[in-house]
Subunit: 236 residues, 2 copies
């Protein structure tokens, strides 16, 4: 359990996108010792991990680990499988950018690290509002993961559970941007685009780009996103 007023170690999943950056900023603002965890899992580009490193550095984490994971070798997702195109607009209920069991794998690693660190919580920036097509971003999924974790870990069985914290779960993209901005997140260094170039510059066209741009517009903050040359969105 998180001890009120005491500094607790917590694990924070950090992807390099704006949601996990804001999630880390929230955990840090609550006074925790933050152990950031990123994965190199066969993403199409490394720009996301460069962004994660920049965010971890700026927000002053205790440790940032990047774990290599071969999950992309399973295929089955437009985010890791070169044979599946990233669509410019979603037409299905569950996007092709869904990576099978991704959040489950990520949270499982975080659980193992949390137990070794004796960390009291895992922070994860899942969000059910803008990306509701992903089954493993829903509150009922997180609740089920928590119940499983409570039975999986030695420390949980001994009465000291690891809490799964999802501070962004019910926030809109605009609310996330507003909160992150308050907490000093440098959104220019975060990467949301599904097909960013090697420098982390966005395509301006994919679903993730459109949601991000709309979020900045909604909250009336200038969009600091770095777009690839010629990829500036209409009206940017």
């Amino acid at each position: 359990m998180l001890r009120d007023g005491a500094v607790s170690a917590v694990v924070v999943l950090l992807s390099g996108g704006m949601d996990s950056a804001t999630c880390l900023a929230i955990a840090a603002a609550e006074g925790h010792d933050c152990y950031a965890l990123s994965f190199h899992y066969g993403q199409r580009h490394d720009a996301e991990l460069d962004a994660a490193r920049a965010v971890a550095d700026t927000l002053g984490v205790t440790t940032h680990r990047v774990m290599p994971l071969d999950i992309g070798a399973f295929g089955g997702s437009a985010l890791t499988d070169p044979g599946i195109a990233v669509p410019l607009q979603q037409s299905e209920a569950i996007p092709v950018t869904y990576v099978p069991a991704r959040n489950t794998v990520f949270l499982s690693f975080a659980l193992g690290w949390a137990e070794v660190l004796d960390a009291d919580a895992i922070y994860v920036g899942v969000n059910a509002v803008d990306y509701s097509g992903y089954p493993d971003c829903r509150p009922e999924y997180i609740d089920a993961f928590q119940r499983m974790a409570d039975l999986a870990l030695k420390r949980s069985v001994e009465g000291r559970p690891v809490a799964i914290r999802v501070p962004l779960i019910a926030m809109t993209k605009a609310q996330i941007i507003a909160r992150g901005t308050e907490l000093g997140v440098d959104f220019a260094s975060t990467v949301s685009c599904y097909q960013a170039d090697a420098l982390g510059r966005a395509c301006g066209q994919c679903d993730a780009c459109r949601l991000r741009r709309q979020g900045f517009a909604d909250v009336r903050i200038a969009d600091p996103t770095r777009y690839a040359p010629g990829a500036e969105p209409d009206g940017a």
Copy 2:
């Protein structure tokens, strides 16, 4: 769902030990196309993986994948951390050979692969009888993992869940040996010892060796275990 009478693809977690070998033999005997999954996760020795390869080969799996995983880098277990000694006899409720979140991580990868393969089930040889000290080998843990998985996957949400099958969960070591023998498992090629040498030869002294030896004795089958020179157990 498993279709009665039809050949289904299933993922089988395969460690190289006798339990997972028997679990694979059961899945194969049920007529499934078996996709075996092993992990290289910082075990003290590679003999386990050599054993897994031999078992997969003998039992005729469709594919055998060995995924590299850096879970050992977290430390915290006598099985992966050279700084923690393997005890000859357990004295605690939860053994120091417990690897934090190991089964959760393994099952999570299996889930991802199952979804990509369109597999209907995952077979895992967890057993709550002889190793009851591990929290993530208990039926209530498996049930909670199933409920989580039902909410995590695209195919589950679409009405086609991946079943977590634990055919050994309530079997004694002797029953596992008897069933595996019936199904043609070559137990001589499996490795149970926590500190087997580079050739996979057992120490004869650790908890895993003692449980295994007792199992063969109970079922009155000659113990085919390969022991290291000078490590033959008393009375062997």
